[in-house]
């Protein structure tokens, strides 16, 4: 099969909404959306806390956050695997090779990205807006709320960046999900498997969908960044 034939076959699968492919796409979106929601619920408040504190007071926490922003997915996968495997501390929950395990590992990967980027966004706005808010009579809580509200575009960008990172991730979800057909098979793991099997049309089809999602995410990020441009004159 030539590349062109593969693309044409893949396009057919996409256009006809092939049930097997749709099931994989749906699970991928479900897992990554759940993970990014969990990571946002934890990461945004923590990023706000770090961003609003004096840099010197959170130096170590900042360094650790930055380090984990580059957390190798396979290491995250290994950690979650060891925690959830039958001999691990959470083995009794029987979550290994389940969508819940995949959500856990993706949340772990998205958390430092959402925390770190929220922190940077808030810190930048903190410098900009803190004095203005204080000089207009805001108390410390009102200052914090104002700064976080002004950083809303940066925070939304952080969430989108976190989602972009995990939707395209393969190593960690393969380790803790097991790539079980109909159960834990997501787009990235399916692409790996179908390529190995020589089933290129499905691999290319999923690749096209993944690229389309990446394009949508980046378009959204671009729009958010434009919406969040500085109002300073």
């Amino acid at each position: 099969m030539t590349l062109l034939e593969g693309i044409l076959e893949a396009a057919k699968l996409v256009i006809t909404l092939d049930p097997a492919m749709m099931q994989i796409i749906f699970l991928s979106l479900q897992v990554s959306t759940s993970a990014v929601i969990i990571a946002s619920l934890l990461g945004i408040p923590y990023g706000a806390y770090l961003g609003l504190r004096t840099v010197a007071k959170v130096r170590w926490q900042t360094r650790i956050t930055y380090t984990f922003m580059g957390f190798p997915p396979v290491v995250a996968g290994l950690v979650v695997y060891l925690l959830l495997s039958s001999s691990g501390p959470f083995g009794v929950l029987d979550l290994i090779f389940s969508p819940a395990a995949m959500i856990s590992v993706q949340a772990l990967l998205a958390l430092p990205i959402i925390t770190g980027l929220s922190m940077v966004g808030i810190r930048e706005r903190d410098n900009e807006f803190r004095d203005t808010a204080i000089s207009l009579g805001a108390n410390p809580m009102q200052v914090a709320v104002t700064v976080v509200k002004e950083a809303r575009y940066a925070i939304m960008g952080a969430v989108v960046a976190g989602f972009g990172r995990i939707i395209a991730e393969v190593g960690a979800v393969m380790m803790v999900g097991g790539n079980i057909e109909g159960h834990t098979r997501v787009m990235t793991t399916a692409i790996v498997l179908e390529t190995r099997k020589g089933n290129f049309e499905l691999a290319i089809g999923l690749g096209l969908v993944l690229m389309a999602i990446a394009f949508l995410i980046n378009s959204l990020l671009y729009k958010i960044q434009n919406g969040g441009s500085s109002y300073e004159k």
Binding site: F129, D131, A138
Partner: protein, 248 residues
């Protein structure tokens, strides 16, 4: 309280930045209802003084009194009460990402004013700065002059005793400079608000200030009425600065 007493007093004030003293003022009083112009070369410590008066930068040493209360020794809630009697307009106005009216209403909202009062006062302040027609416009779309007028409206909408202005007309066109200067004067005359304005422009200080304070290298060199300081400065450095002969 808007009497002729000293509203703000600075005593034995010293401020260091990176172990270098940037401000050292033994005594300085600001009386209620006057317009003060603080002039001096770049890096003289003018803006630092303004920030200290506005509780934004605690001084390394010394005291600042507002109505005879040492403001840096007040409890947090009392400090906020003092802060709410002042407002500062910065050289580069930072507007919130909302409409013009929401920007103007900010200080009223955080004070817990009701929506009717917010609406009425915000409209009145926008009328004063001549921007009522832009009330619903996004703050991002404003020009530099309009942004500065919104920042001024955001300050004057509040029931304040002291308006602190840090180079409010720097980089503005002559039309906007005139509008802002007239506003400052009117505000002082109608509301008896004390205005403390840092400016590089000595002619501006001459035009609108009652008293002028000359600061150089962190030190208070001279304080006198505008008329007196420009016609008969007592210190050689003041004379040099006014006549553009000070090299810095």
């Amino acid at each position: 309280m808007k009497s002729d007493q000293a509203l703000l007093q600075v005593k034995s004030l010293s401020h260091k930045f990176n172990n270098q003293e940037v401000l050292n003022i033994e005594s300085l009083n600001f009386k209620s209802g006057k317009v003060y112009g603080i002039i001096g070369p770049s890096g003289a410590g003018k803006s630092t003084l303004l920030r200290i008066l506005n509780l934004l930068t605690p001084p390394t040493q010394g005291k600042v009194f507002f109505h005879n209360h040492d403001i840096y020794r007040l409890q947090p809630q009392q400090r906020i009460e003092v802060q709410r009697k002042m407002a500062m307009v910065f050289q580069k106005p930072v507007l919130f990402k909302h409409t013009v009216k929401e920007n103007v209403a900010y200080g009223l909202k955080i004070r817990g004013s009701d929506s009717k009062e917010i609406e009425d006062k915000a409209n009145e302040a926008l009328d004063r700065v001549g921007l009522r027609h832009l009330a619903e416009r996004s703050a991002i779309s404003l020009s530099g002059g309009e942004s500065q007028r919104v920042a001024l409206a955001r300050a004057i909408v509040l029931d304040i005793e002291v308006l602190l202005l840090d180079e409010p007309t720097a980089n503005l066109d002559p039309g906007n400079i005139t509008i802002i200067e007239q506003l400052i004067r009117r505000l002082n005359q109608e509301m008896r608000t004390t205005v403390i304005m840092v400016t590089h422009n000595i002619f501006q200080a001459q035009r609108i200030a009652d008293d002028v304070i000359f600061i150089n290298e962190g030190e208070l060199i001279e304080k006198a009425s505008a008329e007196h300081i420009f016609s008969a400065p007592q210190d050689k450095r003041t004379w040099q600065f006014i006549n553009g002969e000070m090299i810095y």
